[in-house]
């Protein structure tokens, strides 16, 4: 059984200073953000992020009064070349796996881009990607980045 990568999601009202409060809380706790995205719906939104220590990040945000949840996601290495994304989503589509949302990031150390994926069947997605020789990063690898 692979330990899945945990994404932190939190509910925030769309008003000045909320992002600052979130990032300060994490920074004070020494938690580093690897990747993040904001989905907004008018007067509120959801911040999703992958951090180096998700348990700690979850705990400090929760203690600060945020509505937080943890979600299993996949971090997939993506070739930094035309067709990089296609290769991944095609493998998923062929296997009837739906992508709920995705966001990408690049780190200085990594030679490839990382794609964070939230899918409806994480086990099946992992299998489909590995069979196409796509590298799925482990929780530890994300932590070490």
């Amino acid at each position: 059984m692979v330990a899945e990568l945990k994404q932190i999601s939190l509910f925030v009202e769309n008003k000045p200073g909320r992002m600052a409060k979130v990032s300060k809380t994490l920074s004070d706790a020494g938690v580093n953000i690897r990747a993040m995205t904001i989905a907004e719906a008018g007067d509120f939104g959801v911040i999703r992020m992958v951090v180096d220590n998700s348990e700690k990040g979850y705990q400090v945000l929760r203690d600060s009064g945020f509505t937080v949840s943890m979600t299993d996601v996949l971090a997939v290495e993506m070739k930094d070349a035309p067709g990089g994304l296609y290769e991944i989503v095609n493998a998923l589509g062929d296997n009837d796996i739906n992508v709920d949302y995705a966001y990408a990031f690049v780190t200085a150390k990594a030679e490839k881009a990382m794609l964070i994926l939230r899918v409806d069947d994480i086990g099946k997605a992992r299998k489909a990607l590995i069979s196409k020789d796509v590298k799925v990063a482990s929780k530890e690898e994300i932590q070490r980045l």
Binding site: E13, T67, V68
Partner: protein, 434 residues
Amino acid sequence: MSGYWDPHIERMPPEELRTLQEDRLKSLVRYVYDHSAFYRQRFKEAGVEPGDIKTLDDVTKLPFTKKVDLRDTYPTGMFCLPRSSVVRYHVSSGTTGKPTVVGYNKGDIDTWAESLARALTSIGLGRSDVMQVSYGYGLFTGGLGLHYGAERIGAAVIPVGVGSTERQIILMQDLDTTAIACTPSYFLHLIEVADKMGVSIRDDTQLKVGIFGAEPWSLETRKRIESATGIKAYDIYGTSEISGPLFTDCSCKNGIHVWGDMFLTEVLDPKTGETVEDGERGELVFTTLNKFAMPLIRYRIGDLSIMETEPCECGRTHPRIMRILGRTDDMLIIRGINVFPSQVESVLMGIPAVGDHWQIIVDRDGPLDVMTVRVELVEAGFSDKIRDLLSLKKKVSKELKGVLNIAANVDLVEPGTIPRSEGKAKRVIDNRNI
């Protein structure tokens, strides 16, 4: 089932109770006529004299009294005894005008404590209990009222009053509090604070009973409190004009027992002033049958409820009033439709994703009233998918519309955003300038 404090009175056969009420009403009418220029004037205007009150049904010949009368005669114009007989004053805040003063002689204080002693016994409390009174002490009647009632049954009282919530939780643990009396919104706040301190009311305290009142609250809130903490939550009723908190439901939780030997309770159509049928909703009207410093005749208290006169399963024969549905003056009129905050509460508390604190904001957009209900999103309801959050909003809005018959905007806000209150919660912000 719990025992009785005064079994003879509490289980008195209805006809006997009626006779007692009739005798007390007749002497009350004579008493106020003899002791108060205010009542003599009112009786004269209504064309009624003490001798006209021959049976209980004749009560409808008597004129009403209202809060405005207490204001107009401020401070003591409705007293029937000289100030030298008064042993206590309570004063209600004058949020909408002059304050109102209520006076008590020694017997009035005693009757008040007796009423609560019966009530507290009916929910299973007794001399081995420890009651934390977290209502305000002072001019407000909640603190001292419960204090005297709990002492009367021999319970130990912790007169902690409002605020210092962390300290309240520590005392609750250290002194083995078994019962707490406060507003329901304050208790919800206390649960939150305890949670932050790592204290579980269920596992780390001896609390078994909560006595909640001074603001309307719904059955759904009762269920939430009970399932979150494992305590039994009871409803307490009474206002300063008729003494203070006086009545609770009994352990059958089938309505609040209003002691018939102390009060004559009527339920009227607020518009016509006509008596409604048993079981019909209407405005509560109280006549105090054995209060002497400031008795009240047919006092229109402004609360809406339903009365049942069938004896309760617990064996008590006195009338019961159902959960207060709201106040005639709490009622909001939004786009011409009557809206009670209690209706909003009962919808919200039935939805698990919605937190315990909420607010109604009414604005005016051009000619149109716009109602917005702000609710806190709690972890139980948090999906990280936007469409789930949007459908939650839609669900709340739809359920509100189903009950209120008008559309309401719903704002999902972060937990802790809505102001907590230590006394009565401020649930409605009306920004309309009408």
